[in-house]
């Protein structure tokens, strides 16, 4: 049995088909990047993994059980923006999850329990390179640092799956490169299963172990919503070449044009 299995999954909004007949098996510890034109359902798929959306038909299983229908502490998420809490300092942001878990009513830790938790927090901040900024407010951090914080905040919960929704989309190219290295390092050290949505095909090729291309097999120019997207390429990274990249790029761009038309 796979860690995550997707069987004949459909997602529709009214008569708009977003995803059609999605099939996928993912093993624990895989790092999947999801690419595709906008509107091709990669974010919708991520939301289903998160529990924010429910499929219309088909099965979505985590170790053989249906996914819980609301977000929980087993599935961490990092969005493009607004993932951190502006009213808490960097340290408090990372501490939050531990406090919520241990104190269901107060939601705050005190004394030695707090000191113990803060040790873990500081280790985590060190790991993502935020050690010197521990006592800053999020608005004092750059975009890249805020994303590091969001990742640290999720990872301290040791979630089974980490979901990233275009996490580096708003960052400068140089910073983005640093973030890629950070993410790969964390993934190797912690061995967590990662799903990352990106619209940057090169990013998808470079990061992770597996590339999933969301695209439409059929396009009806008169009814762009009639057919949904599915996974058209499922490639282990390392066996990809420039030629294939161009092919995929071509196909995705075509779909994007059709969507826009």
């Amino acid at each position: 049995m796979s860690f995550i299995s997707v069987n004949k999954l459909w997602k529709e909004y009214g008569d708009q088909v977003v995803l059609e007949n999605l099939n996928l098996e993912v093993e624990q510890g895989e790092f999947c990047t999801l690419v595709g034109a906008s509107g091709c359902g990669k974010s919708t798929f991520l939301k289903m993994l998160l529990g924010q959306e429910v499929q219309t038909r088909g099965e979505l299983l985590l170790e053989g059980d249906t996914f819980p229908a609301e977000p929980d502490r087993n599935r961490g998420i990092v969005f493009q923006r607004y993932s951190v809490f502006p009213h808490l300092t960097v340290r408090q942001n990372v501490l939050m999850g531990l406090e919520l878990e241990q104190k269901p009513i107060l939601g705050k830790l005190f004394g030695s329990a707090r000191a113990e938790a803060l040790e873990k927090v500081d280790d985590m901040l060190e790991l993502v390179g935020l050690g010197p900024s521990a006592n800053k407010w999020p608005h004092e951090l750059s975009g890249g640092m805020q994303q590091r914080l969001a990742i640290a905040q999720s990872l301290i919960m040791r979630p089974r799956v980490l979901l990233l929704d275009e996490p580096f989309g708003a960052l400068d190219p140089g910073i983005r490169k640093d973030m890629h290295e950070l993410l790969l390092r964390l993934w190797r050290e912690i061995g967590i299963t990662i799903f990352m949505v990106t619209h940057d095909l090169h990013e998808g090729f470079y990061l992770g172990t597996r590339l999933l291309v969301f695209d439409k097999l059929r396009n009806d120019p008169h009814a762009p919503n009639a057919y949904g997207a599915t996974i058209t390429y499922d490639l282990p990274i390392g066996q990809t070449d420039e030629h294939l990249l161009r092919d995929i790029d071509q196909s995705v761009t075509n779909t994007a044009r059709n969507q826009a038309a």
Binding site: L50, Q52, D72, P86, H87
Partner: protein, 271 residues
């Protein structure tokens, strides 16, 4: 250069800001002087001398009948009512606003009622308050509560729903239950916004306070103004109005400073 691009320097800006006050004072002074020259007993536009005398009499001499320093008694009574009314209203706004903002079930249940209540003109139900709560303190405080709470409730709920949806998802992935979503995410972020809402509500709160005091009271700033109106005592009314304005400004600025001090992240653009 276009008018919209011409910005005054610091000194010019201050001068421009002070100018209207000076003009108002000058106009008043001239008019008052002219009337007093015609009739030294004129009551309508008292000069500085008469007003100082009135303030001295009201604030720094014992009242012959009651032995109180009337202006301070009035101020204390009014501030107490105002504080109680706005305090209770803010607390109610926080509880109802948070519940409405965070819980869809409560929102479906309560939001229409709050919207409807906020449309009721509070002064129209003042007689009802007097009938139900009597002519004592309670009815005056209740008028302020009823007049300001529903709008603050809507404001708080609105502020909660303006928090990014990403945050709501994020805190759930950190394992938060509904209570923790309220106490660790919504409440702390809505507090500075509540203080802003209170600042905006203070104007209406003063209005309701003075209206209630004018109708049924035995002390209070509004009561005094309406009492001495019978004797055309502008020399008391004008200083009282200025005093009320000053109080309002001081309270507003205190709240603004408290907001800055207590929530550094809020005012630094961290929201």
């Amino acid at each position: 250069m276009r008018l919209i691009n011409r910005t005054p320097g610091r000194l010019t800006a201050t001068a421009l800001g002070v100018l209207p006050f000076i003009i108002l004072l000058l106009i008043y002074g001239a008019a008052s002087q002219q009337r007093l020259a015609d009739n030294p007993n004129d009551k309508l536009l008292p000069g500085l001398e008469q007003m100082t005398a009135a303030v001295d009499r009201m604030a720094f001499q014992e009242d012959r009948r009651s032995g109180d320093y009337l202006m301070w008694v009035d101020t204390l009574a009014s501030l107490e009512r105002l504080g109680m009314g706005v305090g209770v209203a803010a607390l109610m706004a926080l509880v109802v606003g948070l519940a409405n903002g965070v819980l869809p079930l409560v929102r479906a249940n309560l939001a229409p009622l709050v919207s409807a209540l906020s449309m009721v003109p509070p002064l129209a139900i003042l007689p009802i308050l007097f009938i139900v709560f009597g002519l004592g303190e309670l009815s005056k405080v209740m008028l302020i509560v009823i007049g300001t709470a529903p709008i603050m409730m809507r404001d708080v709920a609105q502020r909660v729903s303006e928090l990014p949806g990403e945050q709501l998802i994020k805190i759930q992935t950190l394992g938060a239950n509904s209570w923790q979503v309220v106490t660790r995410m919504a409440l702390p972020q809505v507090l500075p916004r509540l203080i802003d809402a209170v600042r905006l509500s203070l104007g209406p709160a003063w209005l309701f306070l003075i209206a209630a005091e004018a109708i049924a009271s035995t002390e209070g700033l509004g009561y005094r103004i309406f009492l001495v109106r019978r004797y055309l005592a502008m020399d008391v009314i004008l200083p009282y109005v200025i005093w009320i304005t000053l109080l309002a400004i001081v309270i507003d600025q205190c709240l603004r400073l408290a907001n800055r001090r207590l929530f550094p992240w809020y005012n630094a653009g961290g929201h």
